[in-house]
């Protein structure tokens, strides 16, 4: 800690040194902004550039400008050509901004490096403390606070991205199903807080509790309105670390987001009232105020909604400019904020709704990588500016000019805020619980009222107060700061112990399971149905109607056709789970050194299982057809096999060696990818993957398509009812087998029966695909895809070697159709058929160890499923193993 502390100090010193030269000019710049900052929030529009308009620019901006004008380029006429010149004023503004961002983020690094501290004190509180230190250093050097959080910087450059991020990552379903409660808290609760605080303070003032202050009722109400709102930045920062249950979280979080809109509106209304003066306010003005409240709130939401749709529409057609499509989200989101601000609507509500509306569509429309980019950039911006906000909140405190102490005012404010929040939450919850299906528990209510953290929005509003109209502005600012520190630091620190102590229901950390998601969806459908049947229009019903509408119209307009197809929720979950599985396989493979284990171990096992099961699966099938021949089959399976299989096995093995050599040559020559000689690093601004060899891509594509085609066939066959399919499935699988047999002379003799037999064997696997017996399960676990039994055999290293793709391709044509026809002709089964089949069966899958190892496992399962338990496969292989 001490070392990190020293590092921080060093950084600060560095900072001081670097900004030394511009000292004087900055001071004047700050004075400028302090006086001219009022009203920027409503008057400045999107045209107000960063550091271009000194009137509305923040401290650093204007100081940079003025500094540049006064003493740019080192001053004085040039007498000789300077090799290097010191151009501080030329870059001072952006330089300082960047430096500050860096310093703030470094603070975060230092804080996060000390886990034992952050586990006790929330990060936001620590950042504020760091702000104190930095502020102290600046104060020590300058004797005046040069850097403070100005409303312009805060509202235009720091707040939007945080709110956009909040809206974008809002769990929509949760939010809307608790929408009513959230709105009640956000609107009524905030109004209640503002009114009660203002009135109480005013009452206390009249009672003489604060001494001599020049504050009227309206000013009190104005103060009340600015400090009434729970701050999203502070709330997210604290609650993120506590992990309370999701309903509680969405309540606090949603309230803090929406009541920002409310508080800004209230503030503007009261600000206008103060400007008007007490005498001019009549009923008409009050009604106007109320109307403006609704117009501002709903108008802001509407603007956000429109921009959200706009973003969705734009991302629908960004296929060709994928590299900048994430940018649209930010630009349009910011534009919605500025537009609402321009129309003097609620900018915060606007950007919240913008984020909420567009999330679904842009996630579907954009490329997956772009979505990831949006998410990350959003987090970077939000988290970054959150850090800056807290640090600057700390820095702003170290300023003698704002500290006006009035014990009564400050303490009473703190007390009232706390008490009225408590009363408000409990009263509103009491009403809400009458209508809620799941009532909000008492403990949750305590946490909600305790979680009423005030933050930077209140401070920003306080600094926007007009000193000419409100004499005690500094007192208000300093009270606001104290309230912010008190709530963020004190309540933030105590929040975690309190949550633990009260045993608040935490968010359940559960792993994603498909069955749960399916079931949840079933529940939803059920509720809709029940509501429909019982003739009530509840919110399930409404949601269903909305979903229908949304699906029918909104998605149609706002989504790419391709995106529309695959966005069933359950299927997406399924997809995600599969991706996870694949990732864990890769991880496992890396742990073991390579992915070879899939080939050799799991797949091998699967393969074994499959053939083991095939044995027992296929046989009862046959016996069922061939009525009562179970004994016959089993016996003939037992005795003729060993001798035949023994020699065949050897032959096959030899054959493998030979063909292996020949084929590997082919393989190397033709089917390995070309060496990447042209692997140059090119740079492209528009594409990531510039280094792809076209031939390689082409080849991968062809191979994939080929294997997909095969698997598609077998997959398709697999799903049809087992009985009818049994004669056809073999043709999909068959093409890989003739290779294995081609070296085997005795087999060619029996070729007709062979086909037959394999069809039976494959029948088993095809059946499994739909029937879902054990081998199927294993196949799936191997990550080969569920509906694709045909895939597994290829994993068998031997077969794979023997069938280079070019051979398999050729085989495909010849062997697909004909055998199946033969097979059909041959039906129904006769015992004589079977007699010839049995030896061949084993010889074909010549690695007999398959059966050996697997028979018991497969057997077990088959006993459960298939009534006649087939006898265990003969153990004749032991001899030659």
């Amino acid at each position: 800690m001490s070392s990190t502390g020293r590092l921080a100090l060093f950084l600060c010193m560095l900072l001081m040194v670097s900004r030394g030269p511009s000292l004087a000019s900055e001071d004047t710049g700050h004075e400028d902004t302090a006086s001219s900052d009022h009203g920027t929030n409503s008057s400045s529009d999107s045209g107000t550039g960063h550091g271009e308009d000194s009137g509305t620019g923040h401290g650093e901006d204007s100081s940079g400008d003025s500094g540049h004008e006064s003493s740019g380029h080192g001053g004085g006429p040039i007498t000789t050509l300077p090799i290097v010149s010191w151009k501080w004023h030329h870059v001072s503004t952006p330089y300082l901004v960047t430096l500050w961002i860096l310093v703030c983020w470094l603070c975060k690094i230092i804080i996060e490096a000390n886990h034992h501290v952050t586990s006790v004190i929330p990060e936001s509180a620590l950042l504020i403390c760091f702000g104190f230190i930095l502020g102290g250093i600046i104060w020590g050097a300058d004797k005046v606070q040069t850097f403070t959080l100005t409303p312009t910087v805060f509202f235009f450059y720091l707040l939007p991205q945080i709110i956009l991020d909040a809206g974008y990552s809002m769990p929509n379903k949760l939010f809307f199903s608790n929408m009513g409660a959230i709105l009640v808290y956000a609107v009524i609760g905030t109004c209640w807080n503002a009114a009660s605080l203002g009135l109480s303070l005013w009452g206390c003032h009249k009672g003489g509790a604060m001494g001599d202050l020049d504050i009227g009722l309206l000013q009190y109400l104005l103060f009340g309105s600015l400090i009434a709102a729970v701050d999203p930045v502070a709330v997210i920062a604290v609650f993120e670390q506590v992990h309370v249950n999701e309903v509680l979280f969405i309540m606090v979080f949603g309230e803090s987001l929406l009541n920002d809109g409310v508080t800004v509106v209230l503030f503007n209304v009261f600000d206008a009232f103060v400007s008007l003066g007490g005498s001019k306010i009549d009923a008409v003005e009050i009604i106007k105020g109320i109307i403006s409240f609704f117009v501002v709130a709903f108008g802001g939401s509407l603007v956000g909604f429109v921009f959200g749709l706009l973003i969705s529409l734009v991302t629908r057609c960004t296929k060709n400019i994928q590299i900048i499509e994430p940018g649209f989200v930010f630009v349009l989101g910011y534009l919605s904020y500025l537009t609402a601000e321009m129309l003097s609507l609620s900018a915060i509500l606007s950007i919240v709704f913008c984020g909420m509306c567009c999330q679904k569509y842009i996630n579907a429309n954009m490329d997956e990588r772009s979505v990831t980019t949006v998410r990350y950039v959003m987090k970077v911006l939000a988290n970054g500016s959150e850090t800056i906000i807290f640090v600057f909140l700390g820095i702003s405190a170290i300023d003698k000019t704002i500290w006006v102490w009035n014990t009564g005012f400050i303490l009473l404010t703190l007390l009232f805020i706390f008490v009225y929040r408590l009363i408000g939450v409990f009263f509103l919850t009491w009403i809400l619980n009458k209508f809620r299906l799941v009532p909000i528990e008492f403990i949750d209510q305590v946490i909600m009222s305790y979680g009423g953290l005030r933050g930077a929005v209140a401070y920003g509003l306080a600094t926007m107060l007009d000193e000419s109209k409100i004499k005690e502005k500094n007192l208000m600012v300093c009270t606001t700061l104290i309230v912010v520190y008190f709530t963020v630091i004190l309540q933030g620190v105590t929040m975690k112990p309190l949550v633990t102590w009260l045993k608040v229901k935490r968010a359940a950390v559960s792993e994603l399971t498909l069955i749960e998601k399916v079931q949840n969806k079933v529940f939803d459908h059920m509720l809709v149905a029940i509501e429909d049947i019982s003739g009530q229009i509840g919110h399930n019903y409404m949601r269903d109607k909305w979903n229908h509408f949304e699906e029918k119209w909104m998605s149609w307009i706002l989504m790419k056709p391709s995106a529309r197809k695959n966005r069933d929720y359950v299927f997406n979950v399924f997809h995600q789970l599969n991706l996870q599985d694949a990732m864990s396989y890769v991880t496992e493979g890396e742990r073991r050194g390579s992915l070879e284990f899939i080939r050799h171990e799991t797949a091998f096992v699967d393969f074994k299982k499959k053939f083991g099961a095939e044995f027992s699966d296929a046989m009862p099938d046959i016996t069922a057809d061939a009525s009562d021949d179970q004994d016959a089959t089993s016996s003939m399976r037992r005795d003729p096999v060993p001798s035949v299989s023994l020699e065949m096995h050897e032959q096959t093995m030899n054959g493998v060696r030979e063909t292996e050599d020949v084929n590997s040559h082919h393989l190397l020559q033709q089917h390995l990818y070309k060496g990447r000689k042209q692997h140059r690093h090119r740079y492209s601004r528009t594409h990531f993957d510039v280094n792809k060899d076209e031939n390689e891509v082409q080849e991968i594509f062809q191979r994939t398509m080929r294997s997909r085609l095969e698997s598609f066939k077998s997959g398709k066959m697999g799903v049809a009812p087992p009985k009818t399919i049994s004669k056809h499935t073999k043709k999909d699988q068959q093409q890989k087998m003739p290779n294995g047999k081609s070296v085997d002379k005795s087999k060619t003799y029996h070729s007709g029966d062979e086909d037959f037999e394999f069809s039976e064997g494959d029948n088993a696997s095809g059946y499994e695909a739909s029937g879902g017996s054990f081998p199927m399960r294993v196949t799936y676990r191997a990550g080969a895809g569920i509906e694709n039994p045909a895939f597994m055999p290829e994993m068998d290293p031997m077969v794979q070697v023997q069938i280079p793709p070019w051979l398999a391709e050729a085989e495909l044509d010849s062997s697909t159709v004909a055998p199946s026809q033969r097979a059909q002709v041959r039906l129904p089964w006769t015992p004589s058929n079977l007699r010839r089949l049995a030896p061949l069966r084993t010889s074909a899958h010549s690695t007999d160890s398959f059966m050996l190892a697997d028979a018991p496992a497969a057997q077990q399962r088959d006993d459960e499923q298939l009534p006649p338990p087939p006898p265990p496969p003969p153990h004749r292989d032991d001899g030659h193993m």
Binding site: A508, L514, Q519, I530, I533, D568, V570, F574, V719, Y780
Partner: protein, 167 residues
């Protein structure tokens, strides 16, 4: 729907139903009105699979929110709106052949009805496969009620299967 037909006296076994399901008299009345409305041809039952009013109410009783305040006499074994009761009714939705197990085919049927056209048959199969795998603890390729209950341990069934106005 005449108001004359919907007084408590006309409802068959009204008292017993109230006793059994825990609905209030007002609820029964309202449900009876609804039932009469749905029961267009006045047979006293709904179409196809005949549902008389009593079983209609009993089904709906599964969706009554669980309330802790109402004291229940111990004589009743398991109220329909307990979480087990709710789970049972959900389970029965799948278990069409009433063998106490959700087979793959049964799960597929529900999935098919639910997911609509966006998902291909193949995908449905894979989903059913995976879902069964997840829940199937004893590897019998079907989901028994216990397995079903275990798979939904994390879900708050009381909340998920309740409708507010039936309270």
């Amino acid at each position: 729907m005449g108001s004359s037909s919907s007084s408590m006296t006309n409802i068959p076994d009204a008292q017993q139903l109230i006793q059994e399901t825990g609905f209030s008299a007002a609820h029964i009345l309202r449900l009876y009105e609804r039932f009469e409305f749905l029961d267009k041809d006045k047979r006293g039952e709904l179409r196809q699979e005949t549902v008389d009013f009593a079983s209609f109410v009993r089904i709906l009783a599964h969706f009554r929110p669980t309330d802790t305040s109402r004291t229940r006499d111990g004589a009743q074994q398991e109220p329909a709106n307990s979480s087990t009761g709710k789970l049972k009714s959900a389970f029965q939705l799948y278990d069409q052949d009433r063998d106490g197990k959700i087979s793959r085919a049964e799960l597929l049927q529900v999935l098919r009805a639910m997911m609509g056209i966006q998902v291909t048959e193949e995908q449905l199969h894979s989903i059913a496969e995976r879902a069964i795998q997840e829940a199937d603890l004893d590897r019998d390729d079907a989901i028994s009620f216990d397995e079903f209950r275990q798979s939904l341990e994390k879900v708050n069934v009381d909340h998920k299967m309740s409708i507010r106005f039936l309270k």
